[in-house]
Symmetry: C2
Subunit: 102 residues, 2 copies
């Protein structure tokens, strides 16, 4: 059964471009090399561009745990730890499992 999380982050505005670059690199690498990372769909608020929401979908618990220890994820966490002012992770249930993006 897939694992779904909603992450919300508030980032230091002065470091916003560096954060976005690191997050983008991490997501692209995760999608490319981890078949069990089904999506990491990240958005920033138009009116508050340092506030992010990420829809995280993993194929199963093993895929989720593998992601947390993947070198590109650890690199991202180390690089961005000081940029993130607030982080909330909310375990969630999809209303319609298997929903895609056209």
């Amino acid at each position: 059964m897939s694992i779904v999380r909603i992450a919300t982050l508030v980032v230091d505005f002065a470091l916003l471009e560096q954060f976005k670059s690191a997050l983008k690199e991490q997501i692209e690498e995760s999608i490319r090399v981890e078949p069990g990372v089904l999506t990491l769909y990240a958005v920033a608020e138009k009116d508050h561009p340092s506030r992010f929401t990420i829809l995280e979908i993993y194929a199963d618990q093993a895929a989720y745990e593998a992601h947390l220890t993947a070198p590109h994820f650890i690199k991202y966490k180390n690089a961005t730890g000081g940029m993130v002012k607030a982080l909330q992770l909310v375990e969630s249930e999809p209303l319609i499992p298997g929903m895609k993006i056209k």
Copy 2:
């Protein structure tokens, strides 16, 4: 250019099953008949199942406006108006446009 919104809703717990049923029907119909509705990915919090987040992606402004006046959407709004205790709609920008769900 695609339109991306994050909707967050808090629903009357006593009406949760009715709300979920109406939302699911609306989403399935929107995805089926509206090519410009790219996704409506709805999740509920595991620990607070009456709190929902929906990632809404529309192909463009016209698709978004068409959705708001589609009969299945108006039916949903009328049916659920009294069930929704709080609604927040946040215009957002995707970090990686074109991101999919595997």
